[in-house]
């Protein structure tokens, strides 16, 4: 059984069909990329999985759990973490605090314990910190640990957001354009990290990305979307040479 299975997903905004009868599945341990022109519905698929949107029709299951039974804030509990296309960090907090929020789903203490700061809360704080420090080591964020997000450059924020998702200890990582706005070197780093996330941490990655270099470098399978519907699916090379994909990107007659 696949880790993430989406069947016949449809979403309409009024008369606009954002996602049209889309089915795909992501296997455990693979890097699966979604590509497509602007407005193809890539981010919408992410928002459907995160339960920010209610689908019009279709079924969404993750490791045997029906995602539609859950509200958006209960998705993280399953082990699904995500990043956002336009970075959504907590600006008035430090990098460390941002990463610690990623640990929220592991919170086991209640309000009264936290107000009294009992030894259990302190122990939990140490556990969370250790998990976060591993992520900081992995992503080389040491110099920024106690810096406020509001003062950090774009590239670093992008990495912090990846770190926050990793800190939650996910099984499935949704990356919404991890390389957008990054320099060539930063994109290269991102590529190695995604590789390591899959190989060392055993985390399944589903990503939306425009940078075909990154996509063909790291992903096992690629799904090409256009107008909310599946255009092609297969290995990066297969999808890139698919005539329908070339037409959607470059227009008819280009191929």
């Amino acid at each position: 059984m696949s880790l993430l299975e989406i069947k016949n997903a449809t979403l309409k905004f009024g008369g606009v069909v954002a996602v049209n009868d889309l089915s795909f599945s992501v296997e455990e341990g693979e890097v699966y990329a979604i590509v497509g022109p602007n407005g193809a519905g890539k981010s919408t698929v992410f928002n459907l999985i995160s339960r920010f949107y209610d689908p019009f029709a279709g079924s969404f299951s993750f490791d045997g759990h029906n995602l539609l039974d859950r509200k958006a804030d209960a998705i993280a509990d399953l082990g699904i973490a995500r990043t956002f296309q336009n970075i959504e960090l907590f600006d008035h907090a430090t990098v460390l605090e941002n990463l610690l929020v990623g640990r929220h789903r592991h919170r086991r203490t209640n309000l009264v314990e936290e107000m009294l700061f009992t030894p259990r809360v302190r122990r939990q704080a140490h556990e969370n910190r250790e998990a976060v420090e591993e992520v900081i080591d992995f992503l080389d964020l040491q110099p920024y640990r106690s810096k406020m997000i509001a003062g950090l450059p774009y590239g670093v924020r992008k990495v912090v957001e990846l770190g926050r998702a990793l800190a939650s200890g996910p099984r499935l990582l949704l990356l919404d354009e991890p390389a957008s706005g990054l320099s060539v070197e930063e994109t290269q780093d991102m590529r190695w990290w995604i590789d390591d996330i899959r190989k060392q941490m055993g985390i399944t990655v589903l990503m939306v990305e425009h940078d075909m270099g990154l996509v063909s470098g790291v992903s096992d399978r690629v799904l090409a979307l256009a107008d909310g519907a599946k255009l092609a699916e297969g290995t990066p090379a297969e999808v890139q040479s698919n005539p329908a994909v070339i037409e959607a990107y470059l227009g008819a007659g280009a191929a």
């Binding site: 920010f52 804030d73 998705i75 956002f84 605090e97 929020v101 009294l116 700061f117 003062g151």
Partner: protein, 361 residues
């Protein structure tokens, strides 16, 4: 120049980052506990007033500064705390039970009101909570059998294990009571900030969508924040009742709500210090102004609206020039000394206020 050299995770968890900070706060605490030996009864009364405002301010700070929800209805919760404490004591409950209970009652009422209210954002929430402030007046009158309506109530004498505490005849004892409550509230607040819930508050304030993706339940978190905020404010309200001695439906008016909100903005949103700095300003501004007015124009000239005008002016100046309030200024001066002589002029250029209207700068 001071350098924080961190050697364990405990450095980021403990209450005081280093020995120096610990000594500063220990000295401050020692000063606070010996204050009655230095000051006469009048100034002890003023210091008590500052601390009571600081408690109420801490309550609102948790909601507005940490969770980002503005409320102009906190006077209503001051009233709930005040009335519930006094009514419980009149029913024969000792103060030591009635007082925490009044905080819990206010917290529960606050949470119940919050569940529908926090679905509103920004200005709409502020307007909805204004309604709360206005309604409180009428509800107190309507509940006359319990609250004695317009004629008001007198605060009974507090007795803790046989020790009598009364604001007018023994201001020192009342001061110590308020001081202990202040310390407990501050400690609770500080503990929340360094635990997961406090971070969830900040997450909700800064980005609801990613907080949700991290597993934070937005409405529940806001409601809890509202609840704790109201509970602390309720405790402040109860003390305010005892401080005033007598109170009725008009004591906790919307003006108090507005002053509270202004106070935490002037003090510095999102910091514990801010609540205290703001409380000092709000408690001493009227005195300071009347002394100044007396010196400039003579004691018997009345200028209606002077206090409100000056207060409003101070608020506008802070929003324009120091969005982080007195605490922000304090921090900058401190950092200047800590980094001496390496502080740069533009170090805080990137600072932003909570108003998100200045993205293009």
């Amino acid at each position: 120049m001071r350098i924080h050299f961190k050697t364990s995770y405990e450095h980021d968890i403990r209450l005081f980052p280093d020995r120096w900070t610990f000594l500063v706060y220990a000295a401050l605490l020692a000063l606070a506990f010996t204050l009655p030996y230095w000051l006469n009864d009048f100034y002890i009364g003023e210091a008590t007033n500052v601390l009571i405002w600081a408690i109420a301010g801490l309550g609102l700070m948790l909601l507005t500064g940490q969770t980002g929800q503005a409320s102009l209805g906190h006077a209503a919760f001051l009233a709930v705390g005040c009335y519930s404490c006094v009514i419980l004591m009149e029913q024969g409950l000792p103060f030591i039970l009635a007082f925490p209970l009044s905080g819990i009652i206010t917290g529960v009422i606050g949470t119940i009101i919050a569940i529908p209210a926090v679905r509103m954002h920004g200005i709409y929430l502020a307007i909805a909570t204004i309604a709360l402030s206005i309604l409180a007046d009428d509800i107190i009158v309507l509940l006359e059998p319990w609250t004695d309506g317009v004629s008001g109530k007198f605060a009974p004498t507090i007795v803790i294990f046989g020790l009598e505490i009364e604001r007018w005849t023994m201001p020192d004892r009342f001061y110590y009571l308020v001081l202990v409550v202040t310390i407990i509230c501050t400690l609770f607040y500080r503990n929340l900030l360094r635990s997961p819930l406090g971070r969830a508050f900040a997450a909700v304030r800064d980005s609801e969508v990613s907080a949700t993706a991290m597993g934070v339940h937005i409405t529940r978190t806001k409601a809890i924040s509202f609840g704790i905020s109201c509970a602390i404010t309720g405790l402040g309200g109860a003390l305010m009742g005892f401080y005033a001695g007598a109170f009725n439906n008009e004591t906790f008016s919307i003006v108090i709500s507005i002053s509270l909100l202004m106070m935490i903005v002037i003090g510095g949103l999102g910091s514990i210090h801010g609540a205290f700095f703001g409380a000092i300003v709000i408690a001493f501004l009227p005195q300071g102004l009347s002394i100044l007015k007396g010196a400039v124009m003579g004691g018997n000239v009345a200028i209606p609206g002077l206090e409100t005008g000056v207060f409003g002016m101070i608020l506008i100046l802070f929003i324009l020039f120091e969005p982080m309030g007195i605490y922000g200024r304090w921090m900058k001066i401190r950092i200047w000394f800590e980094l001496f002589p390496f502080a740069r002029k533009d170090m805080f250029r990137r600072q932003k206020s909570y108003l998100k209207t200045e993205r293009l700068r």
